[in-house]
């Protein structure tokens, strides 16, 4: 293909996206589109499975049987999300092994929020309410993204995430209607998770890279700051229902903007965690590597057994 042909293909491709057509794995796509999507979708998949760890930690300690079952089911949903998303990434011509390799080596990123420790039962509430809540805001926009498998995965995932968010809120509501100790536990948890949740929307627009391209490909539909504002405006009334306070002395309703003004985010902390130096970055990656390495013999056995079985079938057929 000469340069002119490629240019032509690219134009047709961009027009298809502009017309809201879905791009499917077998369609021609620019290499940059493929690479960007591998990066973004796998990063999303990694977030799902690393995200299982902080909550998974509490399964054995959940306070009631009902909560234990609900938490198990929630963490299992996240595994399911990881599975759809890895499958969507694989359609772009990369294997799951390669993707894991990128996660384990630190080449691929995942959502930084999971590098914070879940240290009380209230954190199971705060994670569902805030973290799944922020994830929904990021993901709803992706239900109409240009890459078909990603868009379809998002539709399924968003439904489950809103269930998780309600479940998280309900955990906190129970605590807030409970004893003083429980209410204090809920407040403490909000204090610790509030700012990291705001950071989930990424750096401020002024510092955000490759936004324009992402907008064109519908990987992004609103800016980081807009999404963050939307999250805050939606969450504050919910905190009021709970009767706990967001740890921001500068938070104030702005009548003119019909939005909340809020205080300065500690971007230094954000970059520290992104770069791998958050409270649990090492633990999370080690846990993933550990599970993967301990599973080698199991996966090898499954493969060897499957081969033996198909050999047996072949021999019978002959």
């Amino acid at each position: 293909m000469n340069e002119k042909d490629i240019k032509n293909l690219e134009e047709i491709f961009e027009q298809r996206i502009a017309r809201d057509e879905k791009i499917e794995p077998k369609d021609w796509m620019p290499e940059k589109y493929r690479q960007t999507h591998i990066r973004q979708i796998s990063q999303h998949a990694h977030s799902e499975i690393v995200g299982m760890l902080p909550e998974g930690n509490w399964i054995t300690r959940a306070p009631t049987l009902r909560r234990k079952v609900a938490l198990l089911a929630k963490v299992q949903d996240e595994a399911g999300h990881g599975l759809y998303l890895y499958s969507a990434t694989e359609t772009l011509g990369i294997t799951r092994e390669e993707l894991y390799e990128q996660l384990h080596s630190g080449k691929a990123k995942y959502s930084s929020i999971f590098n914070y420790p879940a240290i009380t039962w209230a954190d199971m509430g705060a994670i569902g309410w805030l973290v799944d809540g922020a994830a929904i805001i990021n993901q709803v926009a992706l239900c109409t993204t240009s890459f078909g498998p990603y868009a379809r995965a998002m539709v399924r995932i968003c439904k489950e995430e809103s269930f998780h968010q309600r479940q998280g809120f309900e955990i906190l509501l129970t605590l807030c209607n409970g004893t003083e100790v429980q209410k204090a536990m809920a407040q403490d948890s909000l204090n610790r998770w509030w700012w990291p949740s705001l950071m989930m929307f990424g750096p401020p627009d002024a510092e955000s890279t490759h936004t324009e391209q992402s907008m064109k490909w519908k990987l992004k539909r609103k800016s980081n700051d807009d999404l963050r504002q939307q999250f805050i405006d939606q969450t504050i009334p919910q905190a009021e229902i709970l009767g706990i306070k967001v740890p921001d002395p500068d938070l104030k309703w702005n009548e003119k903007r019909k939005s909340y003004d809020f205080g300065e985010i500690d971007w230094e902390e954000f970059w520290q965690v992104v770069k791998g130096h958050g409270p649990c970055n090492k633990e999370r990656i080690n846990a993933r590597i550990d599970a993967w390495e301990k599973g080698v013999w199991v996966r090898d056995a499954a493969l060897a057994y499957a081969e033996k079985q198909s050999d047996k079938k072949l021999n019978k057929a002959v």
Binding site: I49, M52, L53, G56, I59, T60, R61, A62, P63, T64, L65, R66, R67, K68, V69, L72, A73, V75, Q76, A79, G80, G82, L83, Y86, W121, I171, T174, L175, N177, G178, T179, V181, Q182, A287, D290, A291, W292, K294, G295, V296, W297, V298, R299, D300, A301, A302, L303, A304, Y305, K308
Partner: protein, 251 residues
């Protein structure tokens, strides 16, 4: 309590599900791949769901007002009467599968018979559980075959697990006083009737998996009397952590 025997009979079945469900819950997020992780979580969810059905039922038999959570979380170690097998640790994936397999074969046979119980609630629980347990059995026996007849390493590891856990299989068939009374009443299942069938089934699958059958003739017991292995205290420490630290609260 009027129905002490019924209570204890059901407790014995339910505690097995609780403790095995708890053990499997430890693995969530740490499986050898996502597919097995999801499947093991499913089994844990099924077992805990069954546990709740049993506990909710027997909570009503209590004289004092009790909930499923009082029964699940607020007993002393000596009052849990699960068999020793289900409390054994997740040493490696081979142990997880061997433990599951030994339990599933028994559990499936038990549920098949429990469907015929004169106690309608129990029979209904068994009817619902049987679908789940048949899936557990298929899953674990497939893995026993895969690991037994997979690679040299997996064969070795699976054999190791089978040999170590074999000694806990006999306890399934011990009858407590409550068991005997409930068999008499047509409510409980006389598990000793299918002991032979159990070992035939287990041997069949182990043989297909190219594994040799547990050699030891010495078996362990005690769980049904509340005399547990040293693992149990640690399981309960986690299980009961919240209820013990923050008593009398709603969650």
């Amino acid at each position: 309590m009027k129905n002490k025997n019924l209570y204890n009979y059901i407790l014995g079945i339910a505690d097995n599900s609780l403790i095995l469900g708890q053990r499997l819950g430890e693995l969530c997020g740490h499986g050898p791949n996502l597919e097995t992780d999801i499947a093991l979580t499913n089994i844990s969810l099924d077992l805990l769901g069954q546990t709740r059905n049993y506990y909710q039922y027997i909570a009503r038999l209590h004289d004092k007002e009790k909930t499923e959570d009082d029964i699940a979380f607020l007993r002393s170690e000596r009052e849990y009467i699960n068999v020793l097998l289900v409390e054994q640790p997740n040493t490696h994936f081979g142990f997880v599968m061997a433990r599951q397999f030994f339990y599933d074969v028994f559990h499936l046979m038990l549920m098949e018979k429990l469907q015929e119980s004169k106690d309608e609630t129990l029979s209904a629980i068994a009817k619902k559980a049987i679908k789940e347990v048949s899936y557990h059995f298929r899953f674990s026996s497939d893995w026993v075959k895969r690991l037994g007849d997979g690679t040299k390493e997996s064969h070795y590891k699976m054999q190791e697990a089978v040999d170590e856990l074999w000694r806990f299989t006999d306890e399934f068939f011990h009858l407590t006083e409550a068991d005997k009374a409930m068999i008499e009443a047509g409510i409980g299942v006389d598990v000793s009737n299918f002991k032979e069938a159990y070992y035939i089934k287990v041997s069949e699958i182990l043989t297909e998996a190219t594994l040799s059958i547990g050699a030891s003739k010495y078996f362990q017991k005690g769980g049904k009397q509340g005399i547990h292995s040293e693992h149990m205290g640690f399981i309960l420490t986690e299980l009961q952590y919240m209820q013990r630290t923050y008593p009398n609260m709603k969650w």
